[in-house]
């Protein structure tokens, strides 16, 4: 089922949690709401669930206005960060809860409840825990039970509020790929909130990046990562090097470094601009044959499994701002780098944002 959010606004006292938010969620997709804390992502999710009221705007379920519908009637499955399992009930009863509280005429028979709950517990691979209590389960198991409980009522949409936020790194990784597989089987329209960019990029079909109550960008994980729409998205998604420079006569100046390009950059007036370069989009060379590299010195080497993270400082940079570079272990071995080695670095791609927020990609540049 599709969800539409129109001109949504919500204030808590003086704090604006949501400001004129518009969003279209397609039927059957898995959408991530990504942003730092206080960006309004959880509020947006709770508004869609009906757990939060709005000051302005509409929520449409399958084209029908659901703004004033009570959470009980919205048929949403909601999964909470801290599981919110009923601790006085067994796992079985937790999952059966949504069926047991139905009005008599819609309530399935005990036998049917039994078989449906067992089926759901098998789906989350925890049927052997049916008669335990929540406190006897690990965090990852509890969250899977919470998901089974939410699915028991056959919700039209599944909403997950930082579902893996309270779990340790390993369990979190397991669970998110499991969630992805589960979604591929069930195709239920799902929205999950996270502040973990890796999680959003790995799991979601589309990512909505939020900041200060507004949506910064909507797109596939690849789109938002490769083509960030704003400096905020650039800095929020993954590591990045930022350089404050100036645009002048169609050229970019970073300190005394001049970057020429065939494209006509801005006008003849001098304007400030920020250049972003991702660490893995920088090439490291030992020799600069065609004289297009920037002379630098390796100041730190950190090996992180398959990748090696380097910090280098440009030789001409008086402030010695470290530039982060990521290369593969293979390259690292070939280069045989050690600390204080002299190298040349070559950005493969630069993304430029001028203060007017106009975005310029330059890949055909000469230094």
């Amino acid at each position: 089922m599709s969800i539409e959010v129109l001109n949504l606004s919500r204030k808590f006292g003086n704090f604006t949690a949501l400001q004129d938010v518009n969003l279209q969620v397609n039927a059957g997709e898995l959408l991530a709401l990504l942003g730092p804390s206080g960006s309004g992502k959880t509020t947006l999710l709770r508004v869609i669930a009906g757990l939060e009221t709005v000051d302005n705007g509409q929520v449409l379920f399958h084209g029908e206005d659901a703004t004033d519908q009570h959470v009980r009637e919205r048929q949403v499955g909601f999964v909470f960060q801290h599981y919110a399992l009923f601790r006085n009930m067994t796992i079985f009863e937790n999952v059966a809860f949504g069926l047991r509280v139905r009005p008599k005429e819609f309530r399935p028979s005990d036998k049917e409840i039994q078989s449906r709950v067992i089926k759901l517990l098998q789906l989350v691979q925890l049927d052997w825990l049916a008669h335990r209590y929540p406190h006897q389960l690990s965090g990852g198991q509890r969250q899977r039970i919470a998901l089974a409980r939410a699915l028991a009522v056959e919700p039209r949409v599944l909403l997950l509020d930082e579902p893996f936020g309270a779990l340790d790194a390993k369990v979190r990784k397991e669970l998110r790929s499991w969630l992805r597989r589960l979604h591929d089987e069930m195709h239920i329209t799902s929205i999950f909130v996270t502040h973990d960019q890796e999680e959003a990029l790995e799991v979601a079909d589309r990512v909505v990046v939020m900041n200060e109550g507004k949506i910064e960008q909507i797109g596939t994980p690849d789109e938002v990562y490769e083509h960030p729409a704003s400096p905020f998205v650039y800095e929020f998604l993954g590591n990045v090097n930022s350089f404050h420079g100036r645009l002048y006569h169609g050229r970019l100046w970073i300190d005394d470094l001049e970057i020429k390009t065939h494209r006509h950059l801005a006008n003849d007036e001098e304007t400030a601009a920020i250049a972003y370069i991702r660490p893995h989009e920088i090439e490291v060379l030992k020799a600069d044959d065609d004289e297009t590299g920037i002379a630098a010195k390796v100041s730190q080497v950190t090996a992180l499994g398959p990748i090696v993270r380097l910090e280098v400082t440009r030789s001409n940079d008086r402030e010695k701002t470290p530039v982060r570079v990521e290369i593969s272990k293979e390259q690292f071995r070939e280069l045989q780098l050690v600390k204080n080695d002299a190298v040349f670095i070559k950005p493969k791609r630069i993304n430029l944002f001028s203060p007017s927020k106009e975005k310029i990609h330059i890949s055909d540049f000469v230094i």
């Binding site: 757990l51 006085n88 209590y133």
Partner: protein, 277 residues
């Protein structure tokens, strides 16, 4: 030899246990066993005839009956008060919260006199009740009112922290699953607060059984009608009938202990069913 001490990294087990035992003996066990020893001066038939005279039996019925009724009412309204104090924000909440403790602090005699003045035929409240045929002061109903008054804080103060601990998420989860407010309360909230409610009930009940000061003013103390067992004990003491007084107190002790034991068992049973996460 069986040793009770288990290896523990927490120091001071011997000292702490020793102190606890000595302290409990001095404060609780020795005075209580004195009551049993004194009673032992009586022969069994003597004891039996003292504790089963109709006047005494009527006083048991009144004491335990009124205490039970008062504790039950306190469970319902104490829960309501606790709920309001935990869930809602309103001006003067701090004052209401402090008012709840008043029955703890007020000398019980003062409470008794105040309640009597209020509920007597010419009192502020009594003057409206009397024409309706409801007599409160100097009747068993008055005893019930006094016992309700002194028992209220026990329920409120035991339930309040447990209610504060219940995450609103639990209620939201129940709502998203389609449960209405009543179902949410009965299936999600009530089982969690039930043990605390039982504790509050037990405390209010125990307090009411032993209550003396506030009751004697409002009760009227008519034999067979509105005379509580503690008053009978005092009466016997004033007549220097120490053995008779202790005999009654032993009966009260045994009944109270049995009732509290049952309540504790109930609590243990319900706790086991809803262990904390």
């Amino acid at each position: 030899m069986i040793t009770l001490k288990q290896h523990s990294i927490l120091p001071g087990f011997n000292l702490a246990l020793g102190f606890t035992l000595v302290y409990l003996s001095l404060i609780v066990l020795i005075p209580l066993s004195a009551a049993f020893l004194r009673t032992a001066e009586l022969t069994w038939p003597e004891f039996w005839s003292i504790v089963t005279t109709p006047r005494v039996v009527a006083s048991y019925r009144l004491t335990f009956g009124a205490s039970l009724a008062a504790a039950t009412v306190n469970v319902v309204f104490g829960l309501l008060v606790a709920w309001v104090l935990v869930r809602y924000h309103f001006p003067g909440k701090k004052i209401v919260d402090a008012l709840v403790d008043l029955p703890f602090a007020l000398p019980t005699a003062v409470a008794g006199i105040a309640l009597t003045a209020l509920y007597a035929g010419n009192g502020w409240i009594g003057q409206f009740l009397e024409p309706l045929g409801i007599k409160v002061a100097f009747t068993p109903l008055g005893i019930f009112v006094a016992l309700t008054f002194i028992g209220l804080p026990f329920v409120v103060r035991t339930v309040q922290p447990v209610l504060e601990d219940i995450e609103t998420e639990l209620e939201e989860a129940a709502a998203t699953l389609g449960a209405n407010r009543l179902q949410t309360f009965m299936r999600v909230i009530f089982p969690v607060i039930f043990p605390a409610l039982m504790t509050g009930f037990a405390l209010a009940f125990a307090r009411a059984i032993g209550e003396y000061g506030s009751v004697i003013f409002i009760a009227g103390n008519m034999p067979m009608v509105s005379e509580i067992t503690p008053l009978l004990i005092i009466t016997k003491l004033e007549q220097y009938d120490y053995a008779g007084a202790t005999a009654l107190s032993v009966v009260m002790l045994v009944i109270s202990f049995t009732l509290l034991l049952i309540i504790n068992l109930l609590q243990w049973w319900s706790r086991r069913r809803s262990s904390k996460t």
